[in-house]
């Protein structure tokens, strides 16, 4: 990735829907090369996702639950994590180190919904215990743009600044 790529990336972080013509004009290259660079960044996986941010409350999700999972003795949660990734309403999941081996974030509509989902997750392989906590307020900005803006470009040391 070079500086021009970074300029494109920065524009898209602000607004991923910004027309390529506008970006081209702003950074002073042709629209064609913006498109070419964008496609390349997407194809090689540098840009992993280009998505909208939603207000979860406004689509009916009243809360976010944080699940910390512990595996039974001597086993791993790798398989459970694979299942979790495919589970509806699990929006984040990762392996972990510390008191727990797995971490997941679940969005839910009401307490019955939460109960059903957690019961389902409990059946995944090797999960011995789940520590559950949740928030019901201030969740609307969980996926908001602002939270993603912290992604900042730190210049590669090998790259010379202009």
């Amino acid at each position: 990735m070079d500086r021009t790529d970074w300029k494109i990336v920065k524009e898209l972080m602000e607004d991923a829907r910004k027309p390529f013509t506008k970006i081209a004009k702003k950074i002073g290259i042709s629209t064609q090369s913006v498109i070419k660079r964008y496609n390349k960044l997407k194809d090689d996986g540098t840009i992993q996702l280009c998505s909208i941010s939603l207000d979860l409350e406004k689509i009916g999700y009243k809360g976010i639950a944080y699940l910390l999972m512990k595996s039974s003795h001597g086993s791993s949660l790798d398989e459970a994590i694979v299942h979790l990734r495919k589970t509806k309403n699990i929006i984040i999941t990762t392996r972990a180190i510390g008191d727990f081996e797995g971490y997941a974030i679940l969005i839910f509509k009401d307490l019955t919904d939460l109960y059903d989902k957690v019961s389902q997750i409990k059946k995944f392989p090797n999960i011995e215990r789940i520590e559950l906590s949740f928030s019901t307020k201030g969740t609307s900005n969980f996926l908001s743009q602002r939270k993603f803006k912290i992604y900042e470009y730190k210049q590669n040391p090998s790259e010379k600044s202009v």
């Binding site: 990735m1 990336v9 898209l12 972080m13 602000e14 607004d15 991923a16 829907r17 996986g45 540098t46 840009i47 992993q48 996702l49 280009c50 998505s51 909208i52 941010s53 939603l54 207000d55 409350e57 406004k58 689509i59 009916g60 009243k62 976010i64 944080y66 910390l68 990734r85 509806k88 309403n89 699990i90 929006i91 984040i92 999941t93 990762t94 392996r95 972990a96 180190i97 510390g98 971490y103 974030i105 969005i107 559950l132 906590s133 949740f134 928030s135 019901t136 307020k137 201030g138 609307s140 969980f142 908001s144 743009q145 939270k147 993603f148 803006k149 912290i150 992604y151 900042e152 730190k154």
Partner: protein, 162 residues
């Protein structure tokens, strides 16, 4: 709490398409829904105006961002200081998300750091805040990234007209 916004099947299709790729053009969505392109545009702006769509952004490969480690941190705090702690933490660049929670701990934090050594810095910062009693850190091994495909959006009403 923000009330749920009324959305119908076509809105759901728009949201799903844009979650998958925020740059999906309206023409493609229109074709899929069997309505006109301006009708899709109109709905898109309505979804923005009502705050369902809060923005659009891209996500980069974490390696390219320079982030190596994500953390989930649980904090117990003096009840009177909770809001102050959250306000202070939200301002920090490394904190992706910070909210009150119900459960064993009072505040849940998601953070991202560049190096493993920085984990300790975060811990120190959090510990030094007034009113913080206990801090528990769980280091996440995988990327702290959400899976938009797992968000289930249900229409609240049936489509009346295109």
């Amino acid at each position: 709490m923000a009330p749920q916004v009324k959305i119908d099947e076509i809105d759901v299709k728009i949201l799903n398409a844009l979650l998958k790729d925020a740059r999906t053009n309206f023409r493609a969505i229109a074709k899929d829904c069997g309505v006109s392109t301006p009708a899709i545009a109109k709905r898109f702006y309505k979804l923005k105006r009502t705050g369902v769509i809060t923005g659009a952004t891209i996500r980069l490969n974490r390696k390219d961002m320079g982030y190596r480690c994500s953390l989930s941190i649980d904090v117990t705090a003096e009840p009177t200081e909770e809001i102050n702690i959250i306000n202070a933490l939200t301002k920090l660049p490394n904190i992706i998300y910070c909210n009150q929670q119900l459960g064993n701990y009072d505040i849940h934090i998601a953070a991202r750091v560049r190096t493993f050594e920085k984990i300790d810095d975060i811990r120190t910062i959090v510990k030094k805040l007034k009113g913080v009693k206990e801090v528990r850190i769980t280091a996440n091994l995988d990327e702290y990234d959400f899976f938009p495909e797992n968000i289930v959006i249900q229409p609240t009403e049936t489509t009346k007209n295109g």
